[in-house]
C-alpha cells in the first residue's frame, strides 16, 4: 500500500468521461489490529475538511482503532485522505478536556458542571436584565452537527433574541454562501461532485483542491489518467499540484481576481461564445455585464494582474471551447480582496455559457469546513434558519410560528451580526458575553494581537466549549469540555449537499458531553419557554433535534423532510433537497433553469458587491420579478494594502495538506504532526537571492501588525509574493507570539460576504538569526 503521507493521493484508478469512478477502499488500522478483530464499524464521514468522505470508524474494546472508506459512498467511493486516515487518533490523546474549568484568582481550575453552568447562566441572566439581549453573542464552528447548530440558532435567535450569532465558517465559506445568494437568490451548491466524471474542462479558481479536498483531487487525477481527459484551468499565484497538472495556469497578483475575471469574461463575450438562448430565458442582468467588461481587454487587465494578455486569451479559449464546463472556487478568491465580486464572476461565467444543471456543467462554490453547510442552513452563522430571508417579514413570522415565539422576539432589523462586527462590539464594550464553541479565534482570526486584547478584557465574560485546551480557552472565564466526532450522534452535510449520518462509536472521556447536551442544558437552566409556557427548545436528544430541524427545513430549498436517521445510516450519503418529490435526494439544482430566486421565496435580496449595502425588497422585486438567475457585474478596485517601499511583498496565507483548523486535532495525530511540525514561508528563488536568504534558512516576516519567524522554502511562486500556512499557533511552543500567520494579517473584510481578507497584505522579509 502507498504511504499516505508521501503519496497522499494514492494509486490511480483511471476512468473515462461519463464512466463510474472505480471503487478503491482505503483502510487504516492501529498497529497490530486486523480487520477481523474489529468489534464494530460505525458509520460517519470526514470532519477534517469539507469533502465529506464517507467512512466507518473501527471500534475494538470500546476504543477507536481505525477507519475505513465506505465503498458505497457517493463522495469518495471508498477513499480516504491523509487527515481522515490518521486524524481519528486525536480523540484518545491524554490531554483531552475532561472536566469544566472556571477562572479563580486569575487561574483556570477544575469545577463541576453545576458550578460552571451556574456561572454561565448567572452572567447571562444579569446581562439580559441589565443590558438586554444585544450584550450577548455566540460564535460557533464549522465542525459541529446540524442538530447542534439548529439548537444553538433556536436558543440565540429565538429564546435569547440576540442578533449576534456567527460561525467560523465566516473565515472559510461566507463568500461561497454570499456568491450563491447573489447569483441564484439562495445558498446551496448548484453542482455535484459527479460533475467531475463528465466535464471536459474543469476550471479551478483559487482552489488548491489537491491539498484542501484531496479525495476530490484523486477523482480528478483519475479522470486525467483515463481516456479523453478533461483540460484544467488553474488560477493561483502559486504553482500548486493543480497548477502543474493544468493545461493553462494563470498566476495573478494577489488582490486582482476581479480584474482577471473581467478580462476572461470580456474575451468570451467578444468571441460571442455565449448561450444567448439560456441568457434570454433564465437570467437577468446580462446587458450590464457586457457594459462592465467592455473595456476589460486582455491588454488592459494584464498589467493589473501581472498576467500576459496572451495567457488570458489562451485561458478564455479553453473556457470558450468547453461543452461541459465545471468551475470550482475556494479560498484564493474567498479570502482575497473583492471576494464576493470575484466569486460571483465565476457564476456569471457559468450563466452566460449556459453551463448549469446538466452533467459536467456546473459550479461548485466550495466550503472550507466539513459542516459549514449546516452552520448556514440551520441559521447559526449570520443567516436565518432554513435559508429564511431576514428582510422578509413573512419568513420571520413563519419561523416564529415554528418556534411558537413572538415574531418581535426574533431580531430582524438588520442582517444577523457577522463575527468581525461582533468582535468590534466586544471591543467597544457593548457585547459583554461571548460563547465560543469548537473554534479557536485566538489563532484563526486576523491581527492576533488585537484579538487577544479583546478576548482578554475583564468586562467580557468568555465561555469556551471545546475538546482540548487551546490558545482561546486560556483567555476564558469558563471552559466546557465537549465530546468530539465519534463520541456523539448527529448528521452533517458537505459542500455538494450530501448529508451523512455520524454515529457514536465510543464514550467521551471524563465528564465531556456532546455539544447538543451542553446547549440544551443551558436552555433548561435558563428556563426558556415558548408562548404557551412550554420548555424551549422542545427537543431533547439528537433524533428529536433532527426531527425538529426537518420540520424547520420543510418547503425550503434545503428540504430534509425525506431523510431519517435509519435511511441515512443505511446509505452512503444523500443530497438535499430530499423530500416526497425527491425521495433519493437531488443530484443537481437548477436542472430546469428554475431558481430559488422568486422575491417571496429567495433567501436574500442581495447586496451591492462593492459597498455591501443590502438591496431593498422593492428593488429586488423590480429587478427580478420572475426569480431568474442574476448576472451581476463588478468593477475592479485597488487592494487596500498594496506592497510599498517598507513592505515590498504581497503576503498570502493558506491551508496545507496535513493540517486543519489551528492543528488542535491534526497535530495530535503523530503521522500528521511529523509530516509538517513547523511553520514555513514560501518564496521564489529570485526574491530569496535578492534578499540573501537560503533554502531552509530562518527568516523574519513583518507587516504593520506583527512578525513571524519561519524557515524558508524556495518554491515556484510568483516573484513578489510570500506564502505562509496559517494553522500554527502557540499551544505546542514556548508561547512567544511569532509563529502564527495571523499575527500579520490586517483587520479588513469583504463588505458583501464579511469574510476576512487573509490573502492581500503587504509584508517585508529578511534573514533572521536563530
Amino acid at each position: 500500500m502507498a504511504d499516505a503521507i508521501t503519496e497522499p493521493w494514492g494509486g490511480r484508478t483511471p476512468y473515462g468521461p461519463g464512466g463510474d469512478w472505480p471503487v478503491r477502499v482505503d483502510v487504516q488500522l492501529a498497529d497490530g489490529v486486523r480487520a477481523e478483530d474489529v468489534d464494530d464499524w460505525v458509520p460517519t464521514a470526514a470532519v477534517l475538511h469539507s469533502n465529506g468522505d464517507g467512512l466507518d470508524i473501527a471500534v475494538k474494546d470500546g476504543r477507536m482503532v481505525g477507519v475505513r472508506g465506505r465503498a458505497d459512498d457517493r463522495v469518495n467511493h471508498g477513499r480516504l485522505d491523509p487527515k481522515d486516515r490518521f486524524g481519528w487518533q486525536a480523540g484518545a490523546s491524554p490531554d483531552r478536556l475532561t472536566m469544566p474549568l472556571v477562572r479563580e484568582g486569575g487561574e483556570l481550575v477544575e469545577a463541576t458542571w453545576d458550578e460552571a453552568m451556574s456561572r454561565v447562566v448567572g452572567r447571562s441572566k444579569e446581562l439580559l436584565d441589565e443590558r438586554g439581549p444585544g450584550s450577548l453573542g455566540f460564535y460557533t464552528s464549522g465542525q459541529l452537527f446540524a442538530e447542534e447548530y439548529y439548537t444553538l440558532a433556536a436558543i440565540g435567535h429565538g429564546a435569547i433574541g440576540t442578533n449576534h450569532m456567527d460561525g467560523n465558517t465566516r473565515l472559510c465559506t461566507a463568500t461561497a454562501a454570499a456568491a450563491l445568494k447573489e447569483s441564484f437568490g439562495c445558498d446551496g451548491q448548484p453542482a455535484s461532485y459527479t460533475d467531475v466524471d463528465h466535464a471536459d474542462v474543469i476550471a479551478l479558481f483559487g482552489h488548491n483542491v489537491a491539498e484542501t479536498q484531496s479525495v476530490l483531487w484523486t477523482r480528478m487525477l483519475d479522470r486525467l489518467a483515463g481516456p479523453n481527459p478533461p483540460a484544467l484551468l488553474c488560477v493561483d499565484p502559486r504553482t500548486t499540484p493543480v497548477a502543474r497538472a493544468a493545461t493553462v495556469h494563470l498566476a495573478p497578483l494577489p488582490g486582482t481576481n476581479v480584474a482577471l475575471m473581467n478580462g476572461l469574461l470580456h474575451e468570451i463575450i467578444r468571441n460571442d461564445q455565449v448561450d444567448h438562448d439560456y441568457i434570454e430565458r433564465h437570467t437577468v442582468g446580462y446587458p450590464e455585464l457586457v457594459r462592465q467588461v467592455a473595456d476589460a481587454t486582455p491588454e488592459s487587465v494584464a498589467d493589473v494582474c501581472g498576467v500576459p494578455p496572451s495567457k488570458i486569451r489562451e485561458a478564455a479559449r479553453l473556457l470558450d471551447g468547453a461543452s461541459r464546463l465545471l468551475s470550482t472556487v475556494l479560498q484564493g478568491f474567498y479570502q482575497s480582496h473583492q471576494a464576493t465580486a470575484a466569486a460571483v464572476q465565476v457564476n456569471n461565467l457559468q450563466l452566460i455559457r449556459g453551463m448549469l444543471g446538466k452533467p459536467g456543467a456546473g459550479v461548485l462554490q466550495m466550503n472550507g469546513q466539513p459542516t459549514a453547510q449546516n452552520t448556514r442552513e440551520c441559521g447559526a452563522d449570520g443567516d436565518l434558519t432554513g435559508f429564511r430571508n431576514w428582510a422578509n417579514d413573512e419568513h420571520v413570522a413563519e419561523l416564529a410560528r415554528l418556534w411558537n415565539l413572538d415574531p418581535l422576539q426574533i431580531p430582524h432589523y438588520a442582517p444577523p451580526t457577522h463575527l468581525m462586527q461582533m468582535l468590534r462590539y466586544a471591543e467597544n464594550g457593548s457585547i459583554r458575553f461571548l460563547w465560543v464553541s469548537a473554534t479557536n479565534p485566538a489563532v484563526s482570526l486576523p491581527e492576533l494581537a488585537r484579538v487577544r486584547s479583546i478576548l482578554a478584557q475583564d468586562r467580557l465574560f468568555l465561555v469556551v466549549q471545546d475538546v482540548f485546551r487551546t490558545e482561546t480557552t486560556e483567555l476564558a472565564d469558563v471552559v466546557l469540555p465537549a465530546a468530539m466526532w465519534g463520541e456523539k450522534t448527529g448528521t452533517f452535510t458537505n459542500a455538494d449537499r450530501t448529508v451523512h449520518f455520524s454515529g457514536k462509536a465510543v464514550e467521551p472521556p471524563g465528564e465531556a458531553k456532546p455539544d447538543l447536551d451542553i446547549f440544551l442544558d443551558y436552555a433548561r437552566r435558563m428556563d426558556f419557554r415558548d408562548r404557551d409556557g412550554n420548555p424551549f427548545p422542545s427537543w431533547n436528544d439528537p433524533e428529536s433535534a433532527f426531527e425538529a430541524w426537518k420540520a424547520a427545513s420543510a418547503g425550503r430549498p434545503c428540504d430534509y423532510t425525506g431523510l431519517t436517521y435509519a435511511k441515512l445510516r443505511a446509505t452512503g450519503g444523500i443530497q438535499w433537497p430530499c423530500n416526497e418529490e425527491h425521495p433519493d435526494g437531488t443530484e443537481r439544482l437548477y436542472a430546469d433553469g428554475k431558481f430559488f430566486a422568486q422575491p417571496d421565496y429567495c433567501e436574500s435580496y442581495g447586496r451591492d458587491l462593492l459597498t455591501g449595502a443590502p438591496r431593498e425588497p422593492d428593488e429586488y422585486r423590480a429587478m427580478n420579478p420572475d426569480g431568474k438567475a442574476m448576472i451581476r457585474p463588478a468593477e475592479y478596485l485597488r487592494p487596500h494594502e498594496p506592497p510599498d517601499e517598507d513592505h515590498p511583498f504581497a503576503l498570502i496565507t493558506g491551508r496545507t495538506l496535513y493540517h486543519f483548523h489551528t492543528r488542535t486535532k491534526t497535530a495530535r495525530a503523530p503521522e500528521l504532526h511529523r509530516a509538517e511540525p513547523e511553520v514555513w514561508v514560501e518564496m521564489s528563488e529570485k526574491d530569496a537571492r535578492a534578499q540573501g536568504i537560503d533554502e531552509g534558512g530562518l527568516a523574519e516576516i513583518t507587516t504593520a501588525r506583527g512578525r513571524v519567524r519561519a524557515r524558508v522554502r524556495l518554491r515556484d511562486i510568483r516573484d513578489g509574493v510570500l506564502f505562509l500556512p496559517f494553522h500554527y499557533g502557540y499551544w505546542d511552543t514556548d508561547g512567544t507570539p511569532d509563529r502564527a500567520a495571523n499575527e500579520l494579517t490586517p483587520t479588513d473584510w469583504d463588505p458583501a460576504s464579511k469574510q476576512p481578507i487573509f490573502k492581500t497584505g503587504a509584508a517585508a522579509i529578511r534573514r533572521a538569526e536563530p
Binding site: 441589565e130 432589523y413 438588520a414 471591543e427 467597544n428 451591492d608 459597498t611 449595502a613 463588505p751
Partner: protein
Amino acid sequence: MKLPLRELHRAESSLARFLYELSDRHRAEHEVHHVARDLAEWSREHVRDLAEAGNRYGLSLRAGAPASSGPLAPARRKVSELTGRRPEPGLLLLADLRRLHRRTAGVSLDWELLAQGAQAVKDRDLLELAQRDHPQTLRQLKWSNAMLKTLSPQVLATLSA
C-alpha cells in the same frame, strides 16, 4: 451649464474630503474605514470627469480632488484608536453617517439637475457623463443608509442600558 457644473464639482470634492475624514475619524470601525476610502475614490473620479467637462464650457475646475482628509489625518486616526474601547464614539459615528447621508443626497440631486440641463441643451456627452457617474453616487447613498441601519440598534440599545 456652468452653474450646475461648478456646483457639482464643489460638492463632489467636498464629499470626497468628508469620506476621508469619516474614514480617519472612525479608524477603529474597520468596515467604515475601508469602504469610505473606496467610495472617496469614486468621488475623486467624478471630480476629474467634471473638470474635463467644465473645460468644454470654458470653466477651469481643478481635476484633482483631495486624496486624504488633510493634515489632521494622523491625529484623527489616533483619536479613533485611543477611544476604540469606549462606547461614545458610536454616537459620533451615527452622527457622521447621518451627515454623510444628507451630503450625498445633495450630490445626487445635483447630478439629477445636471442631467436635466444636459438634456435641455442637448449635450450628449454631458448626459452620458451623468448617466455613468450618478449611479455610483446612488450607491454611496445606499451605503450610508445601510450602515446606519445596521449599526444603530446596537449603539442605541447599549447607550440606553
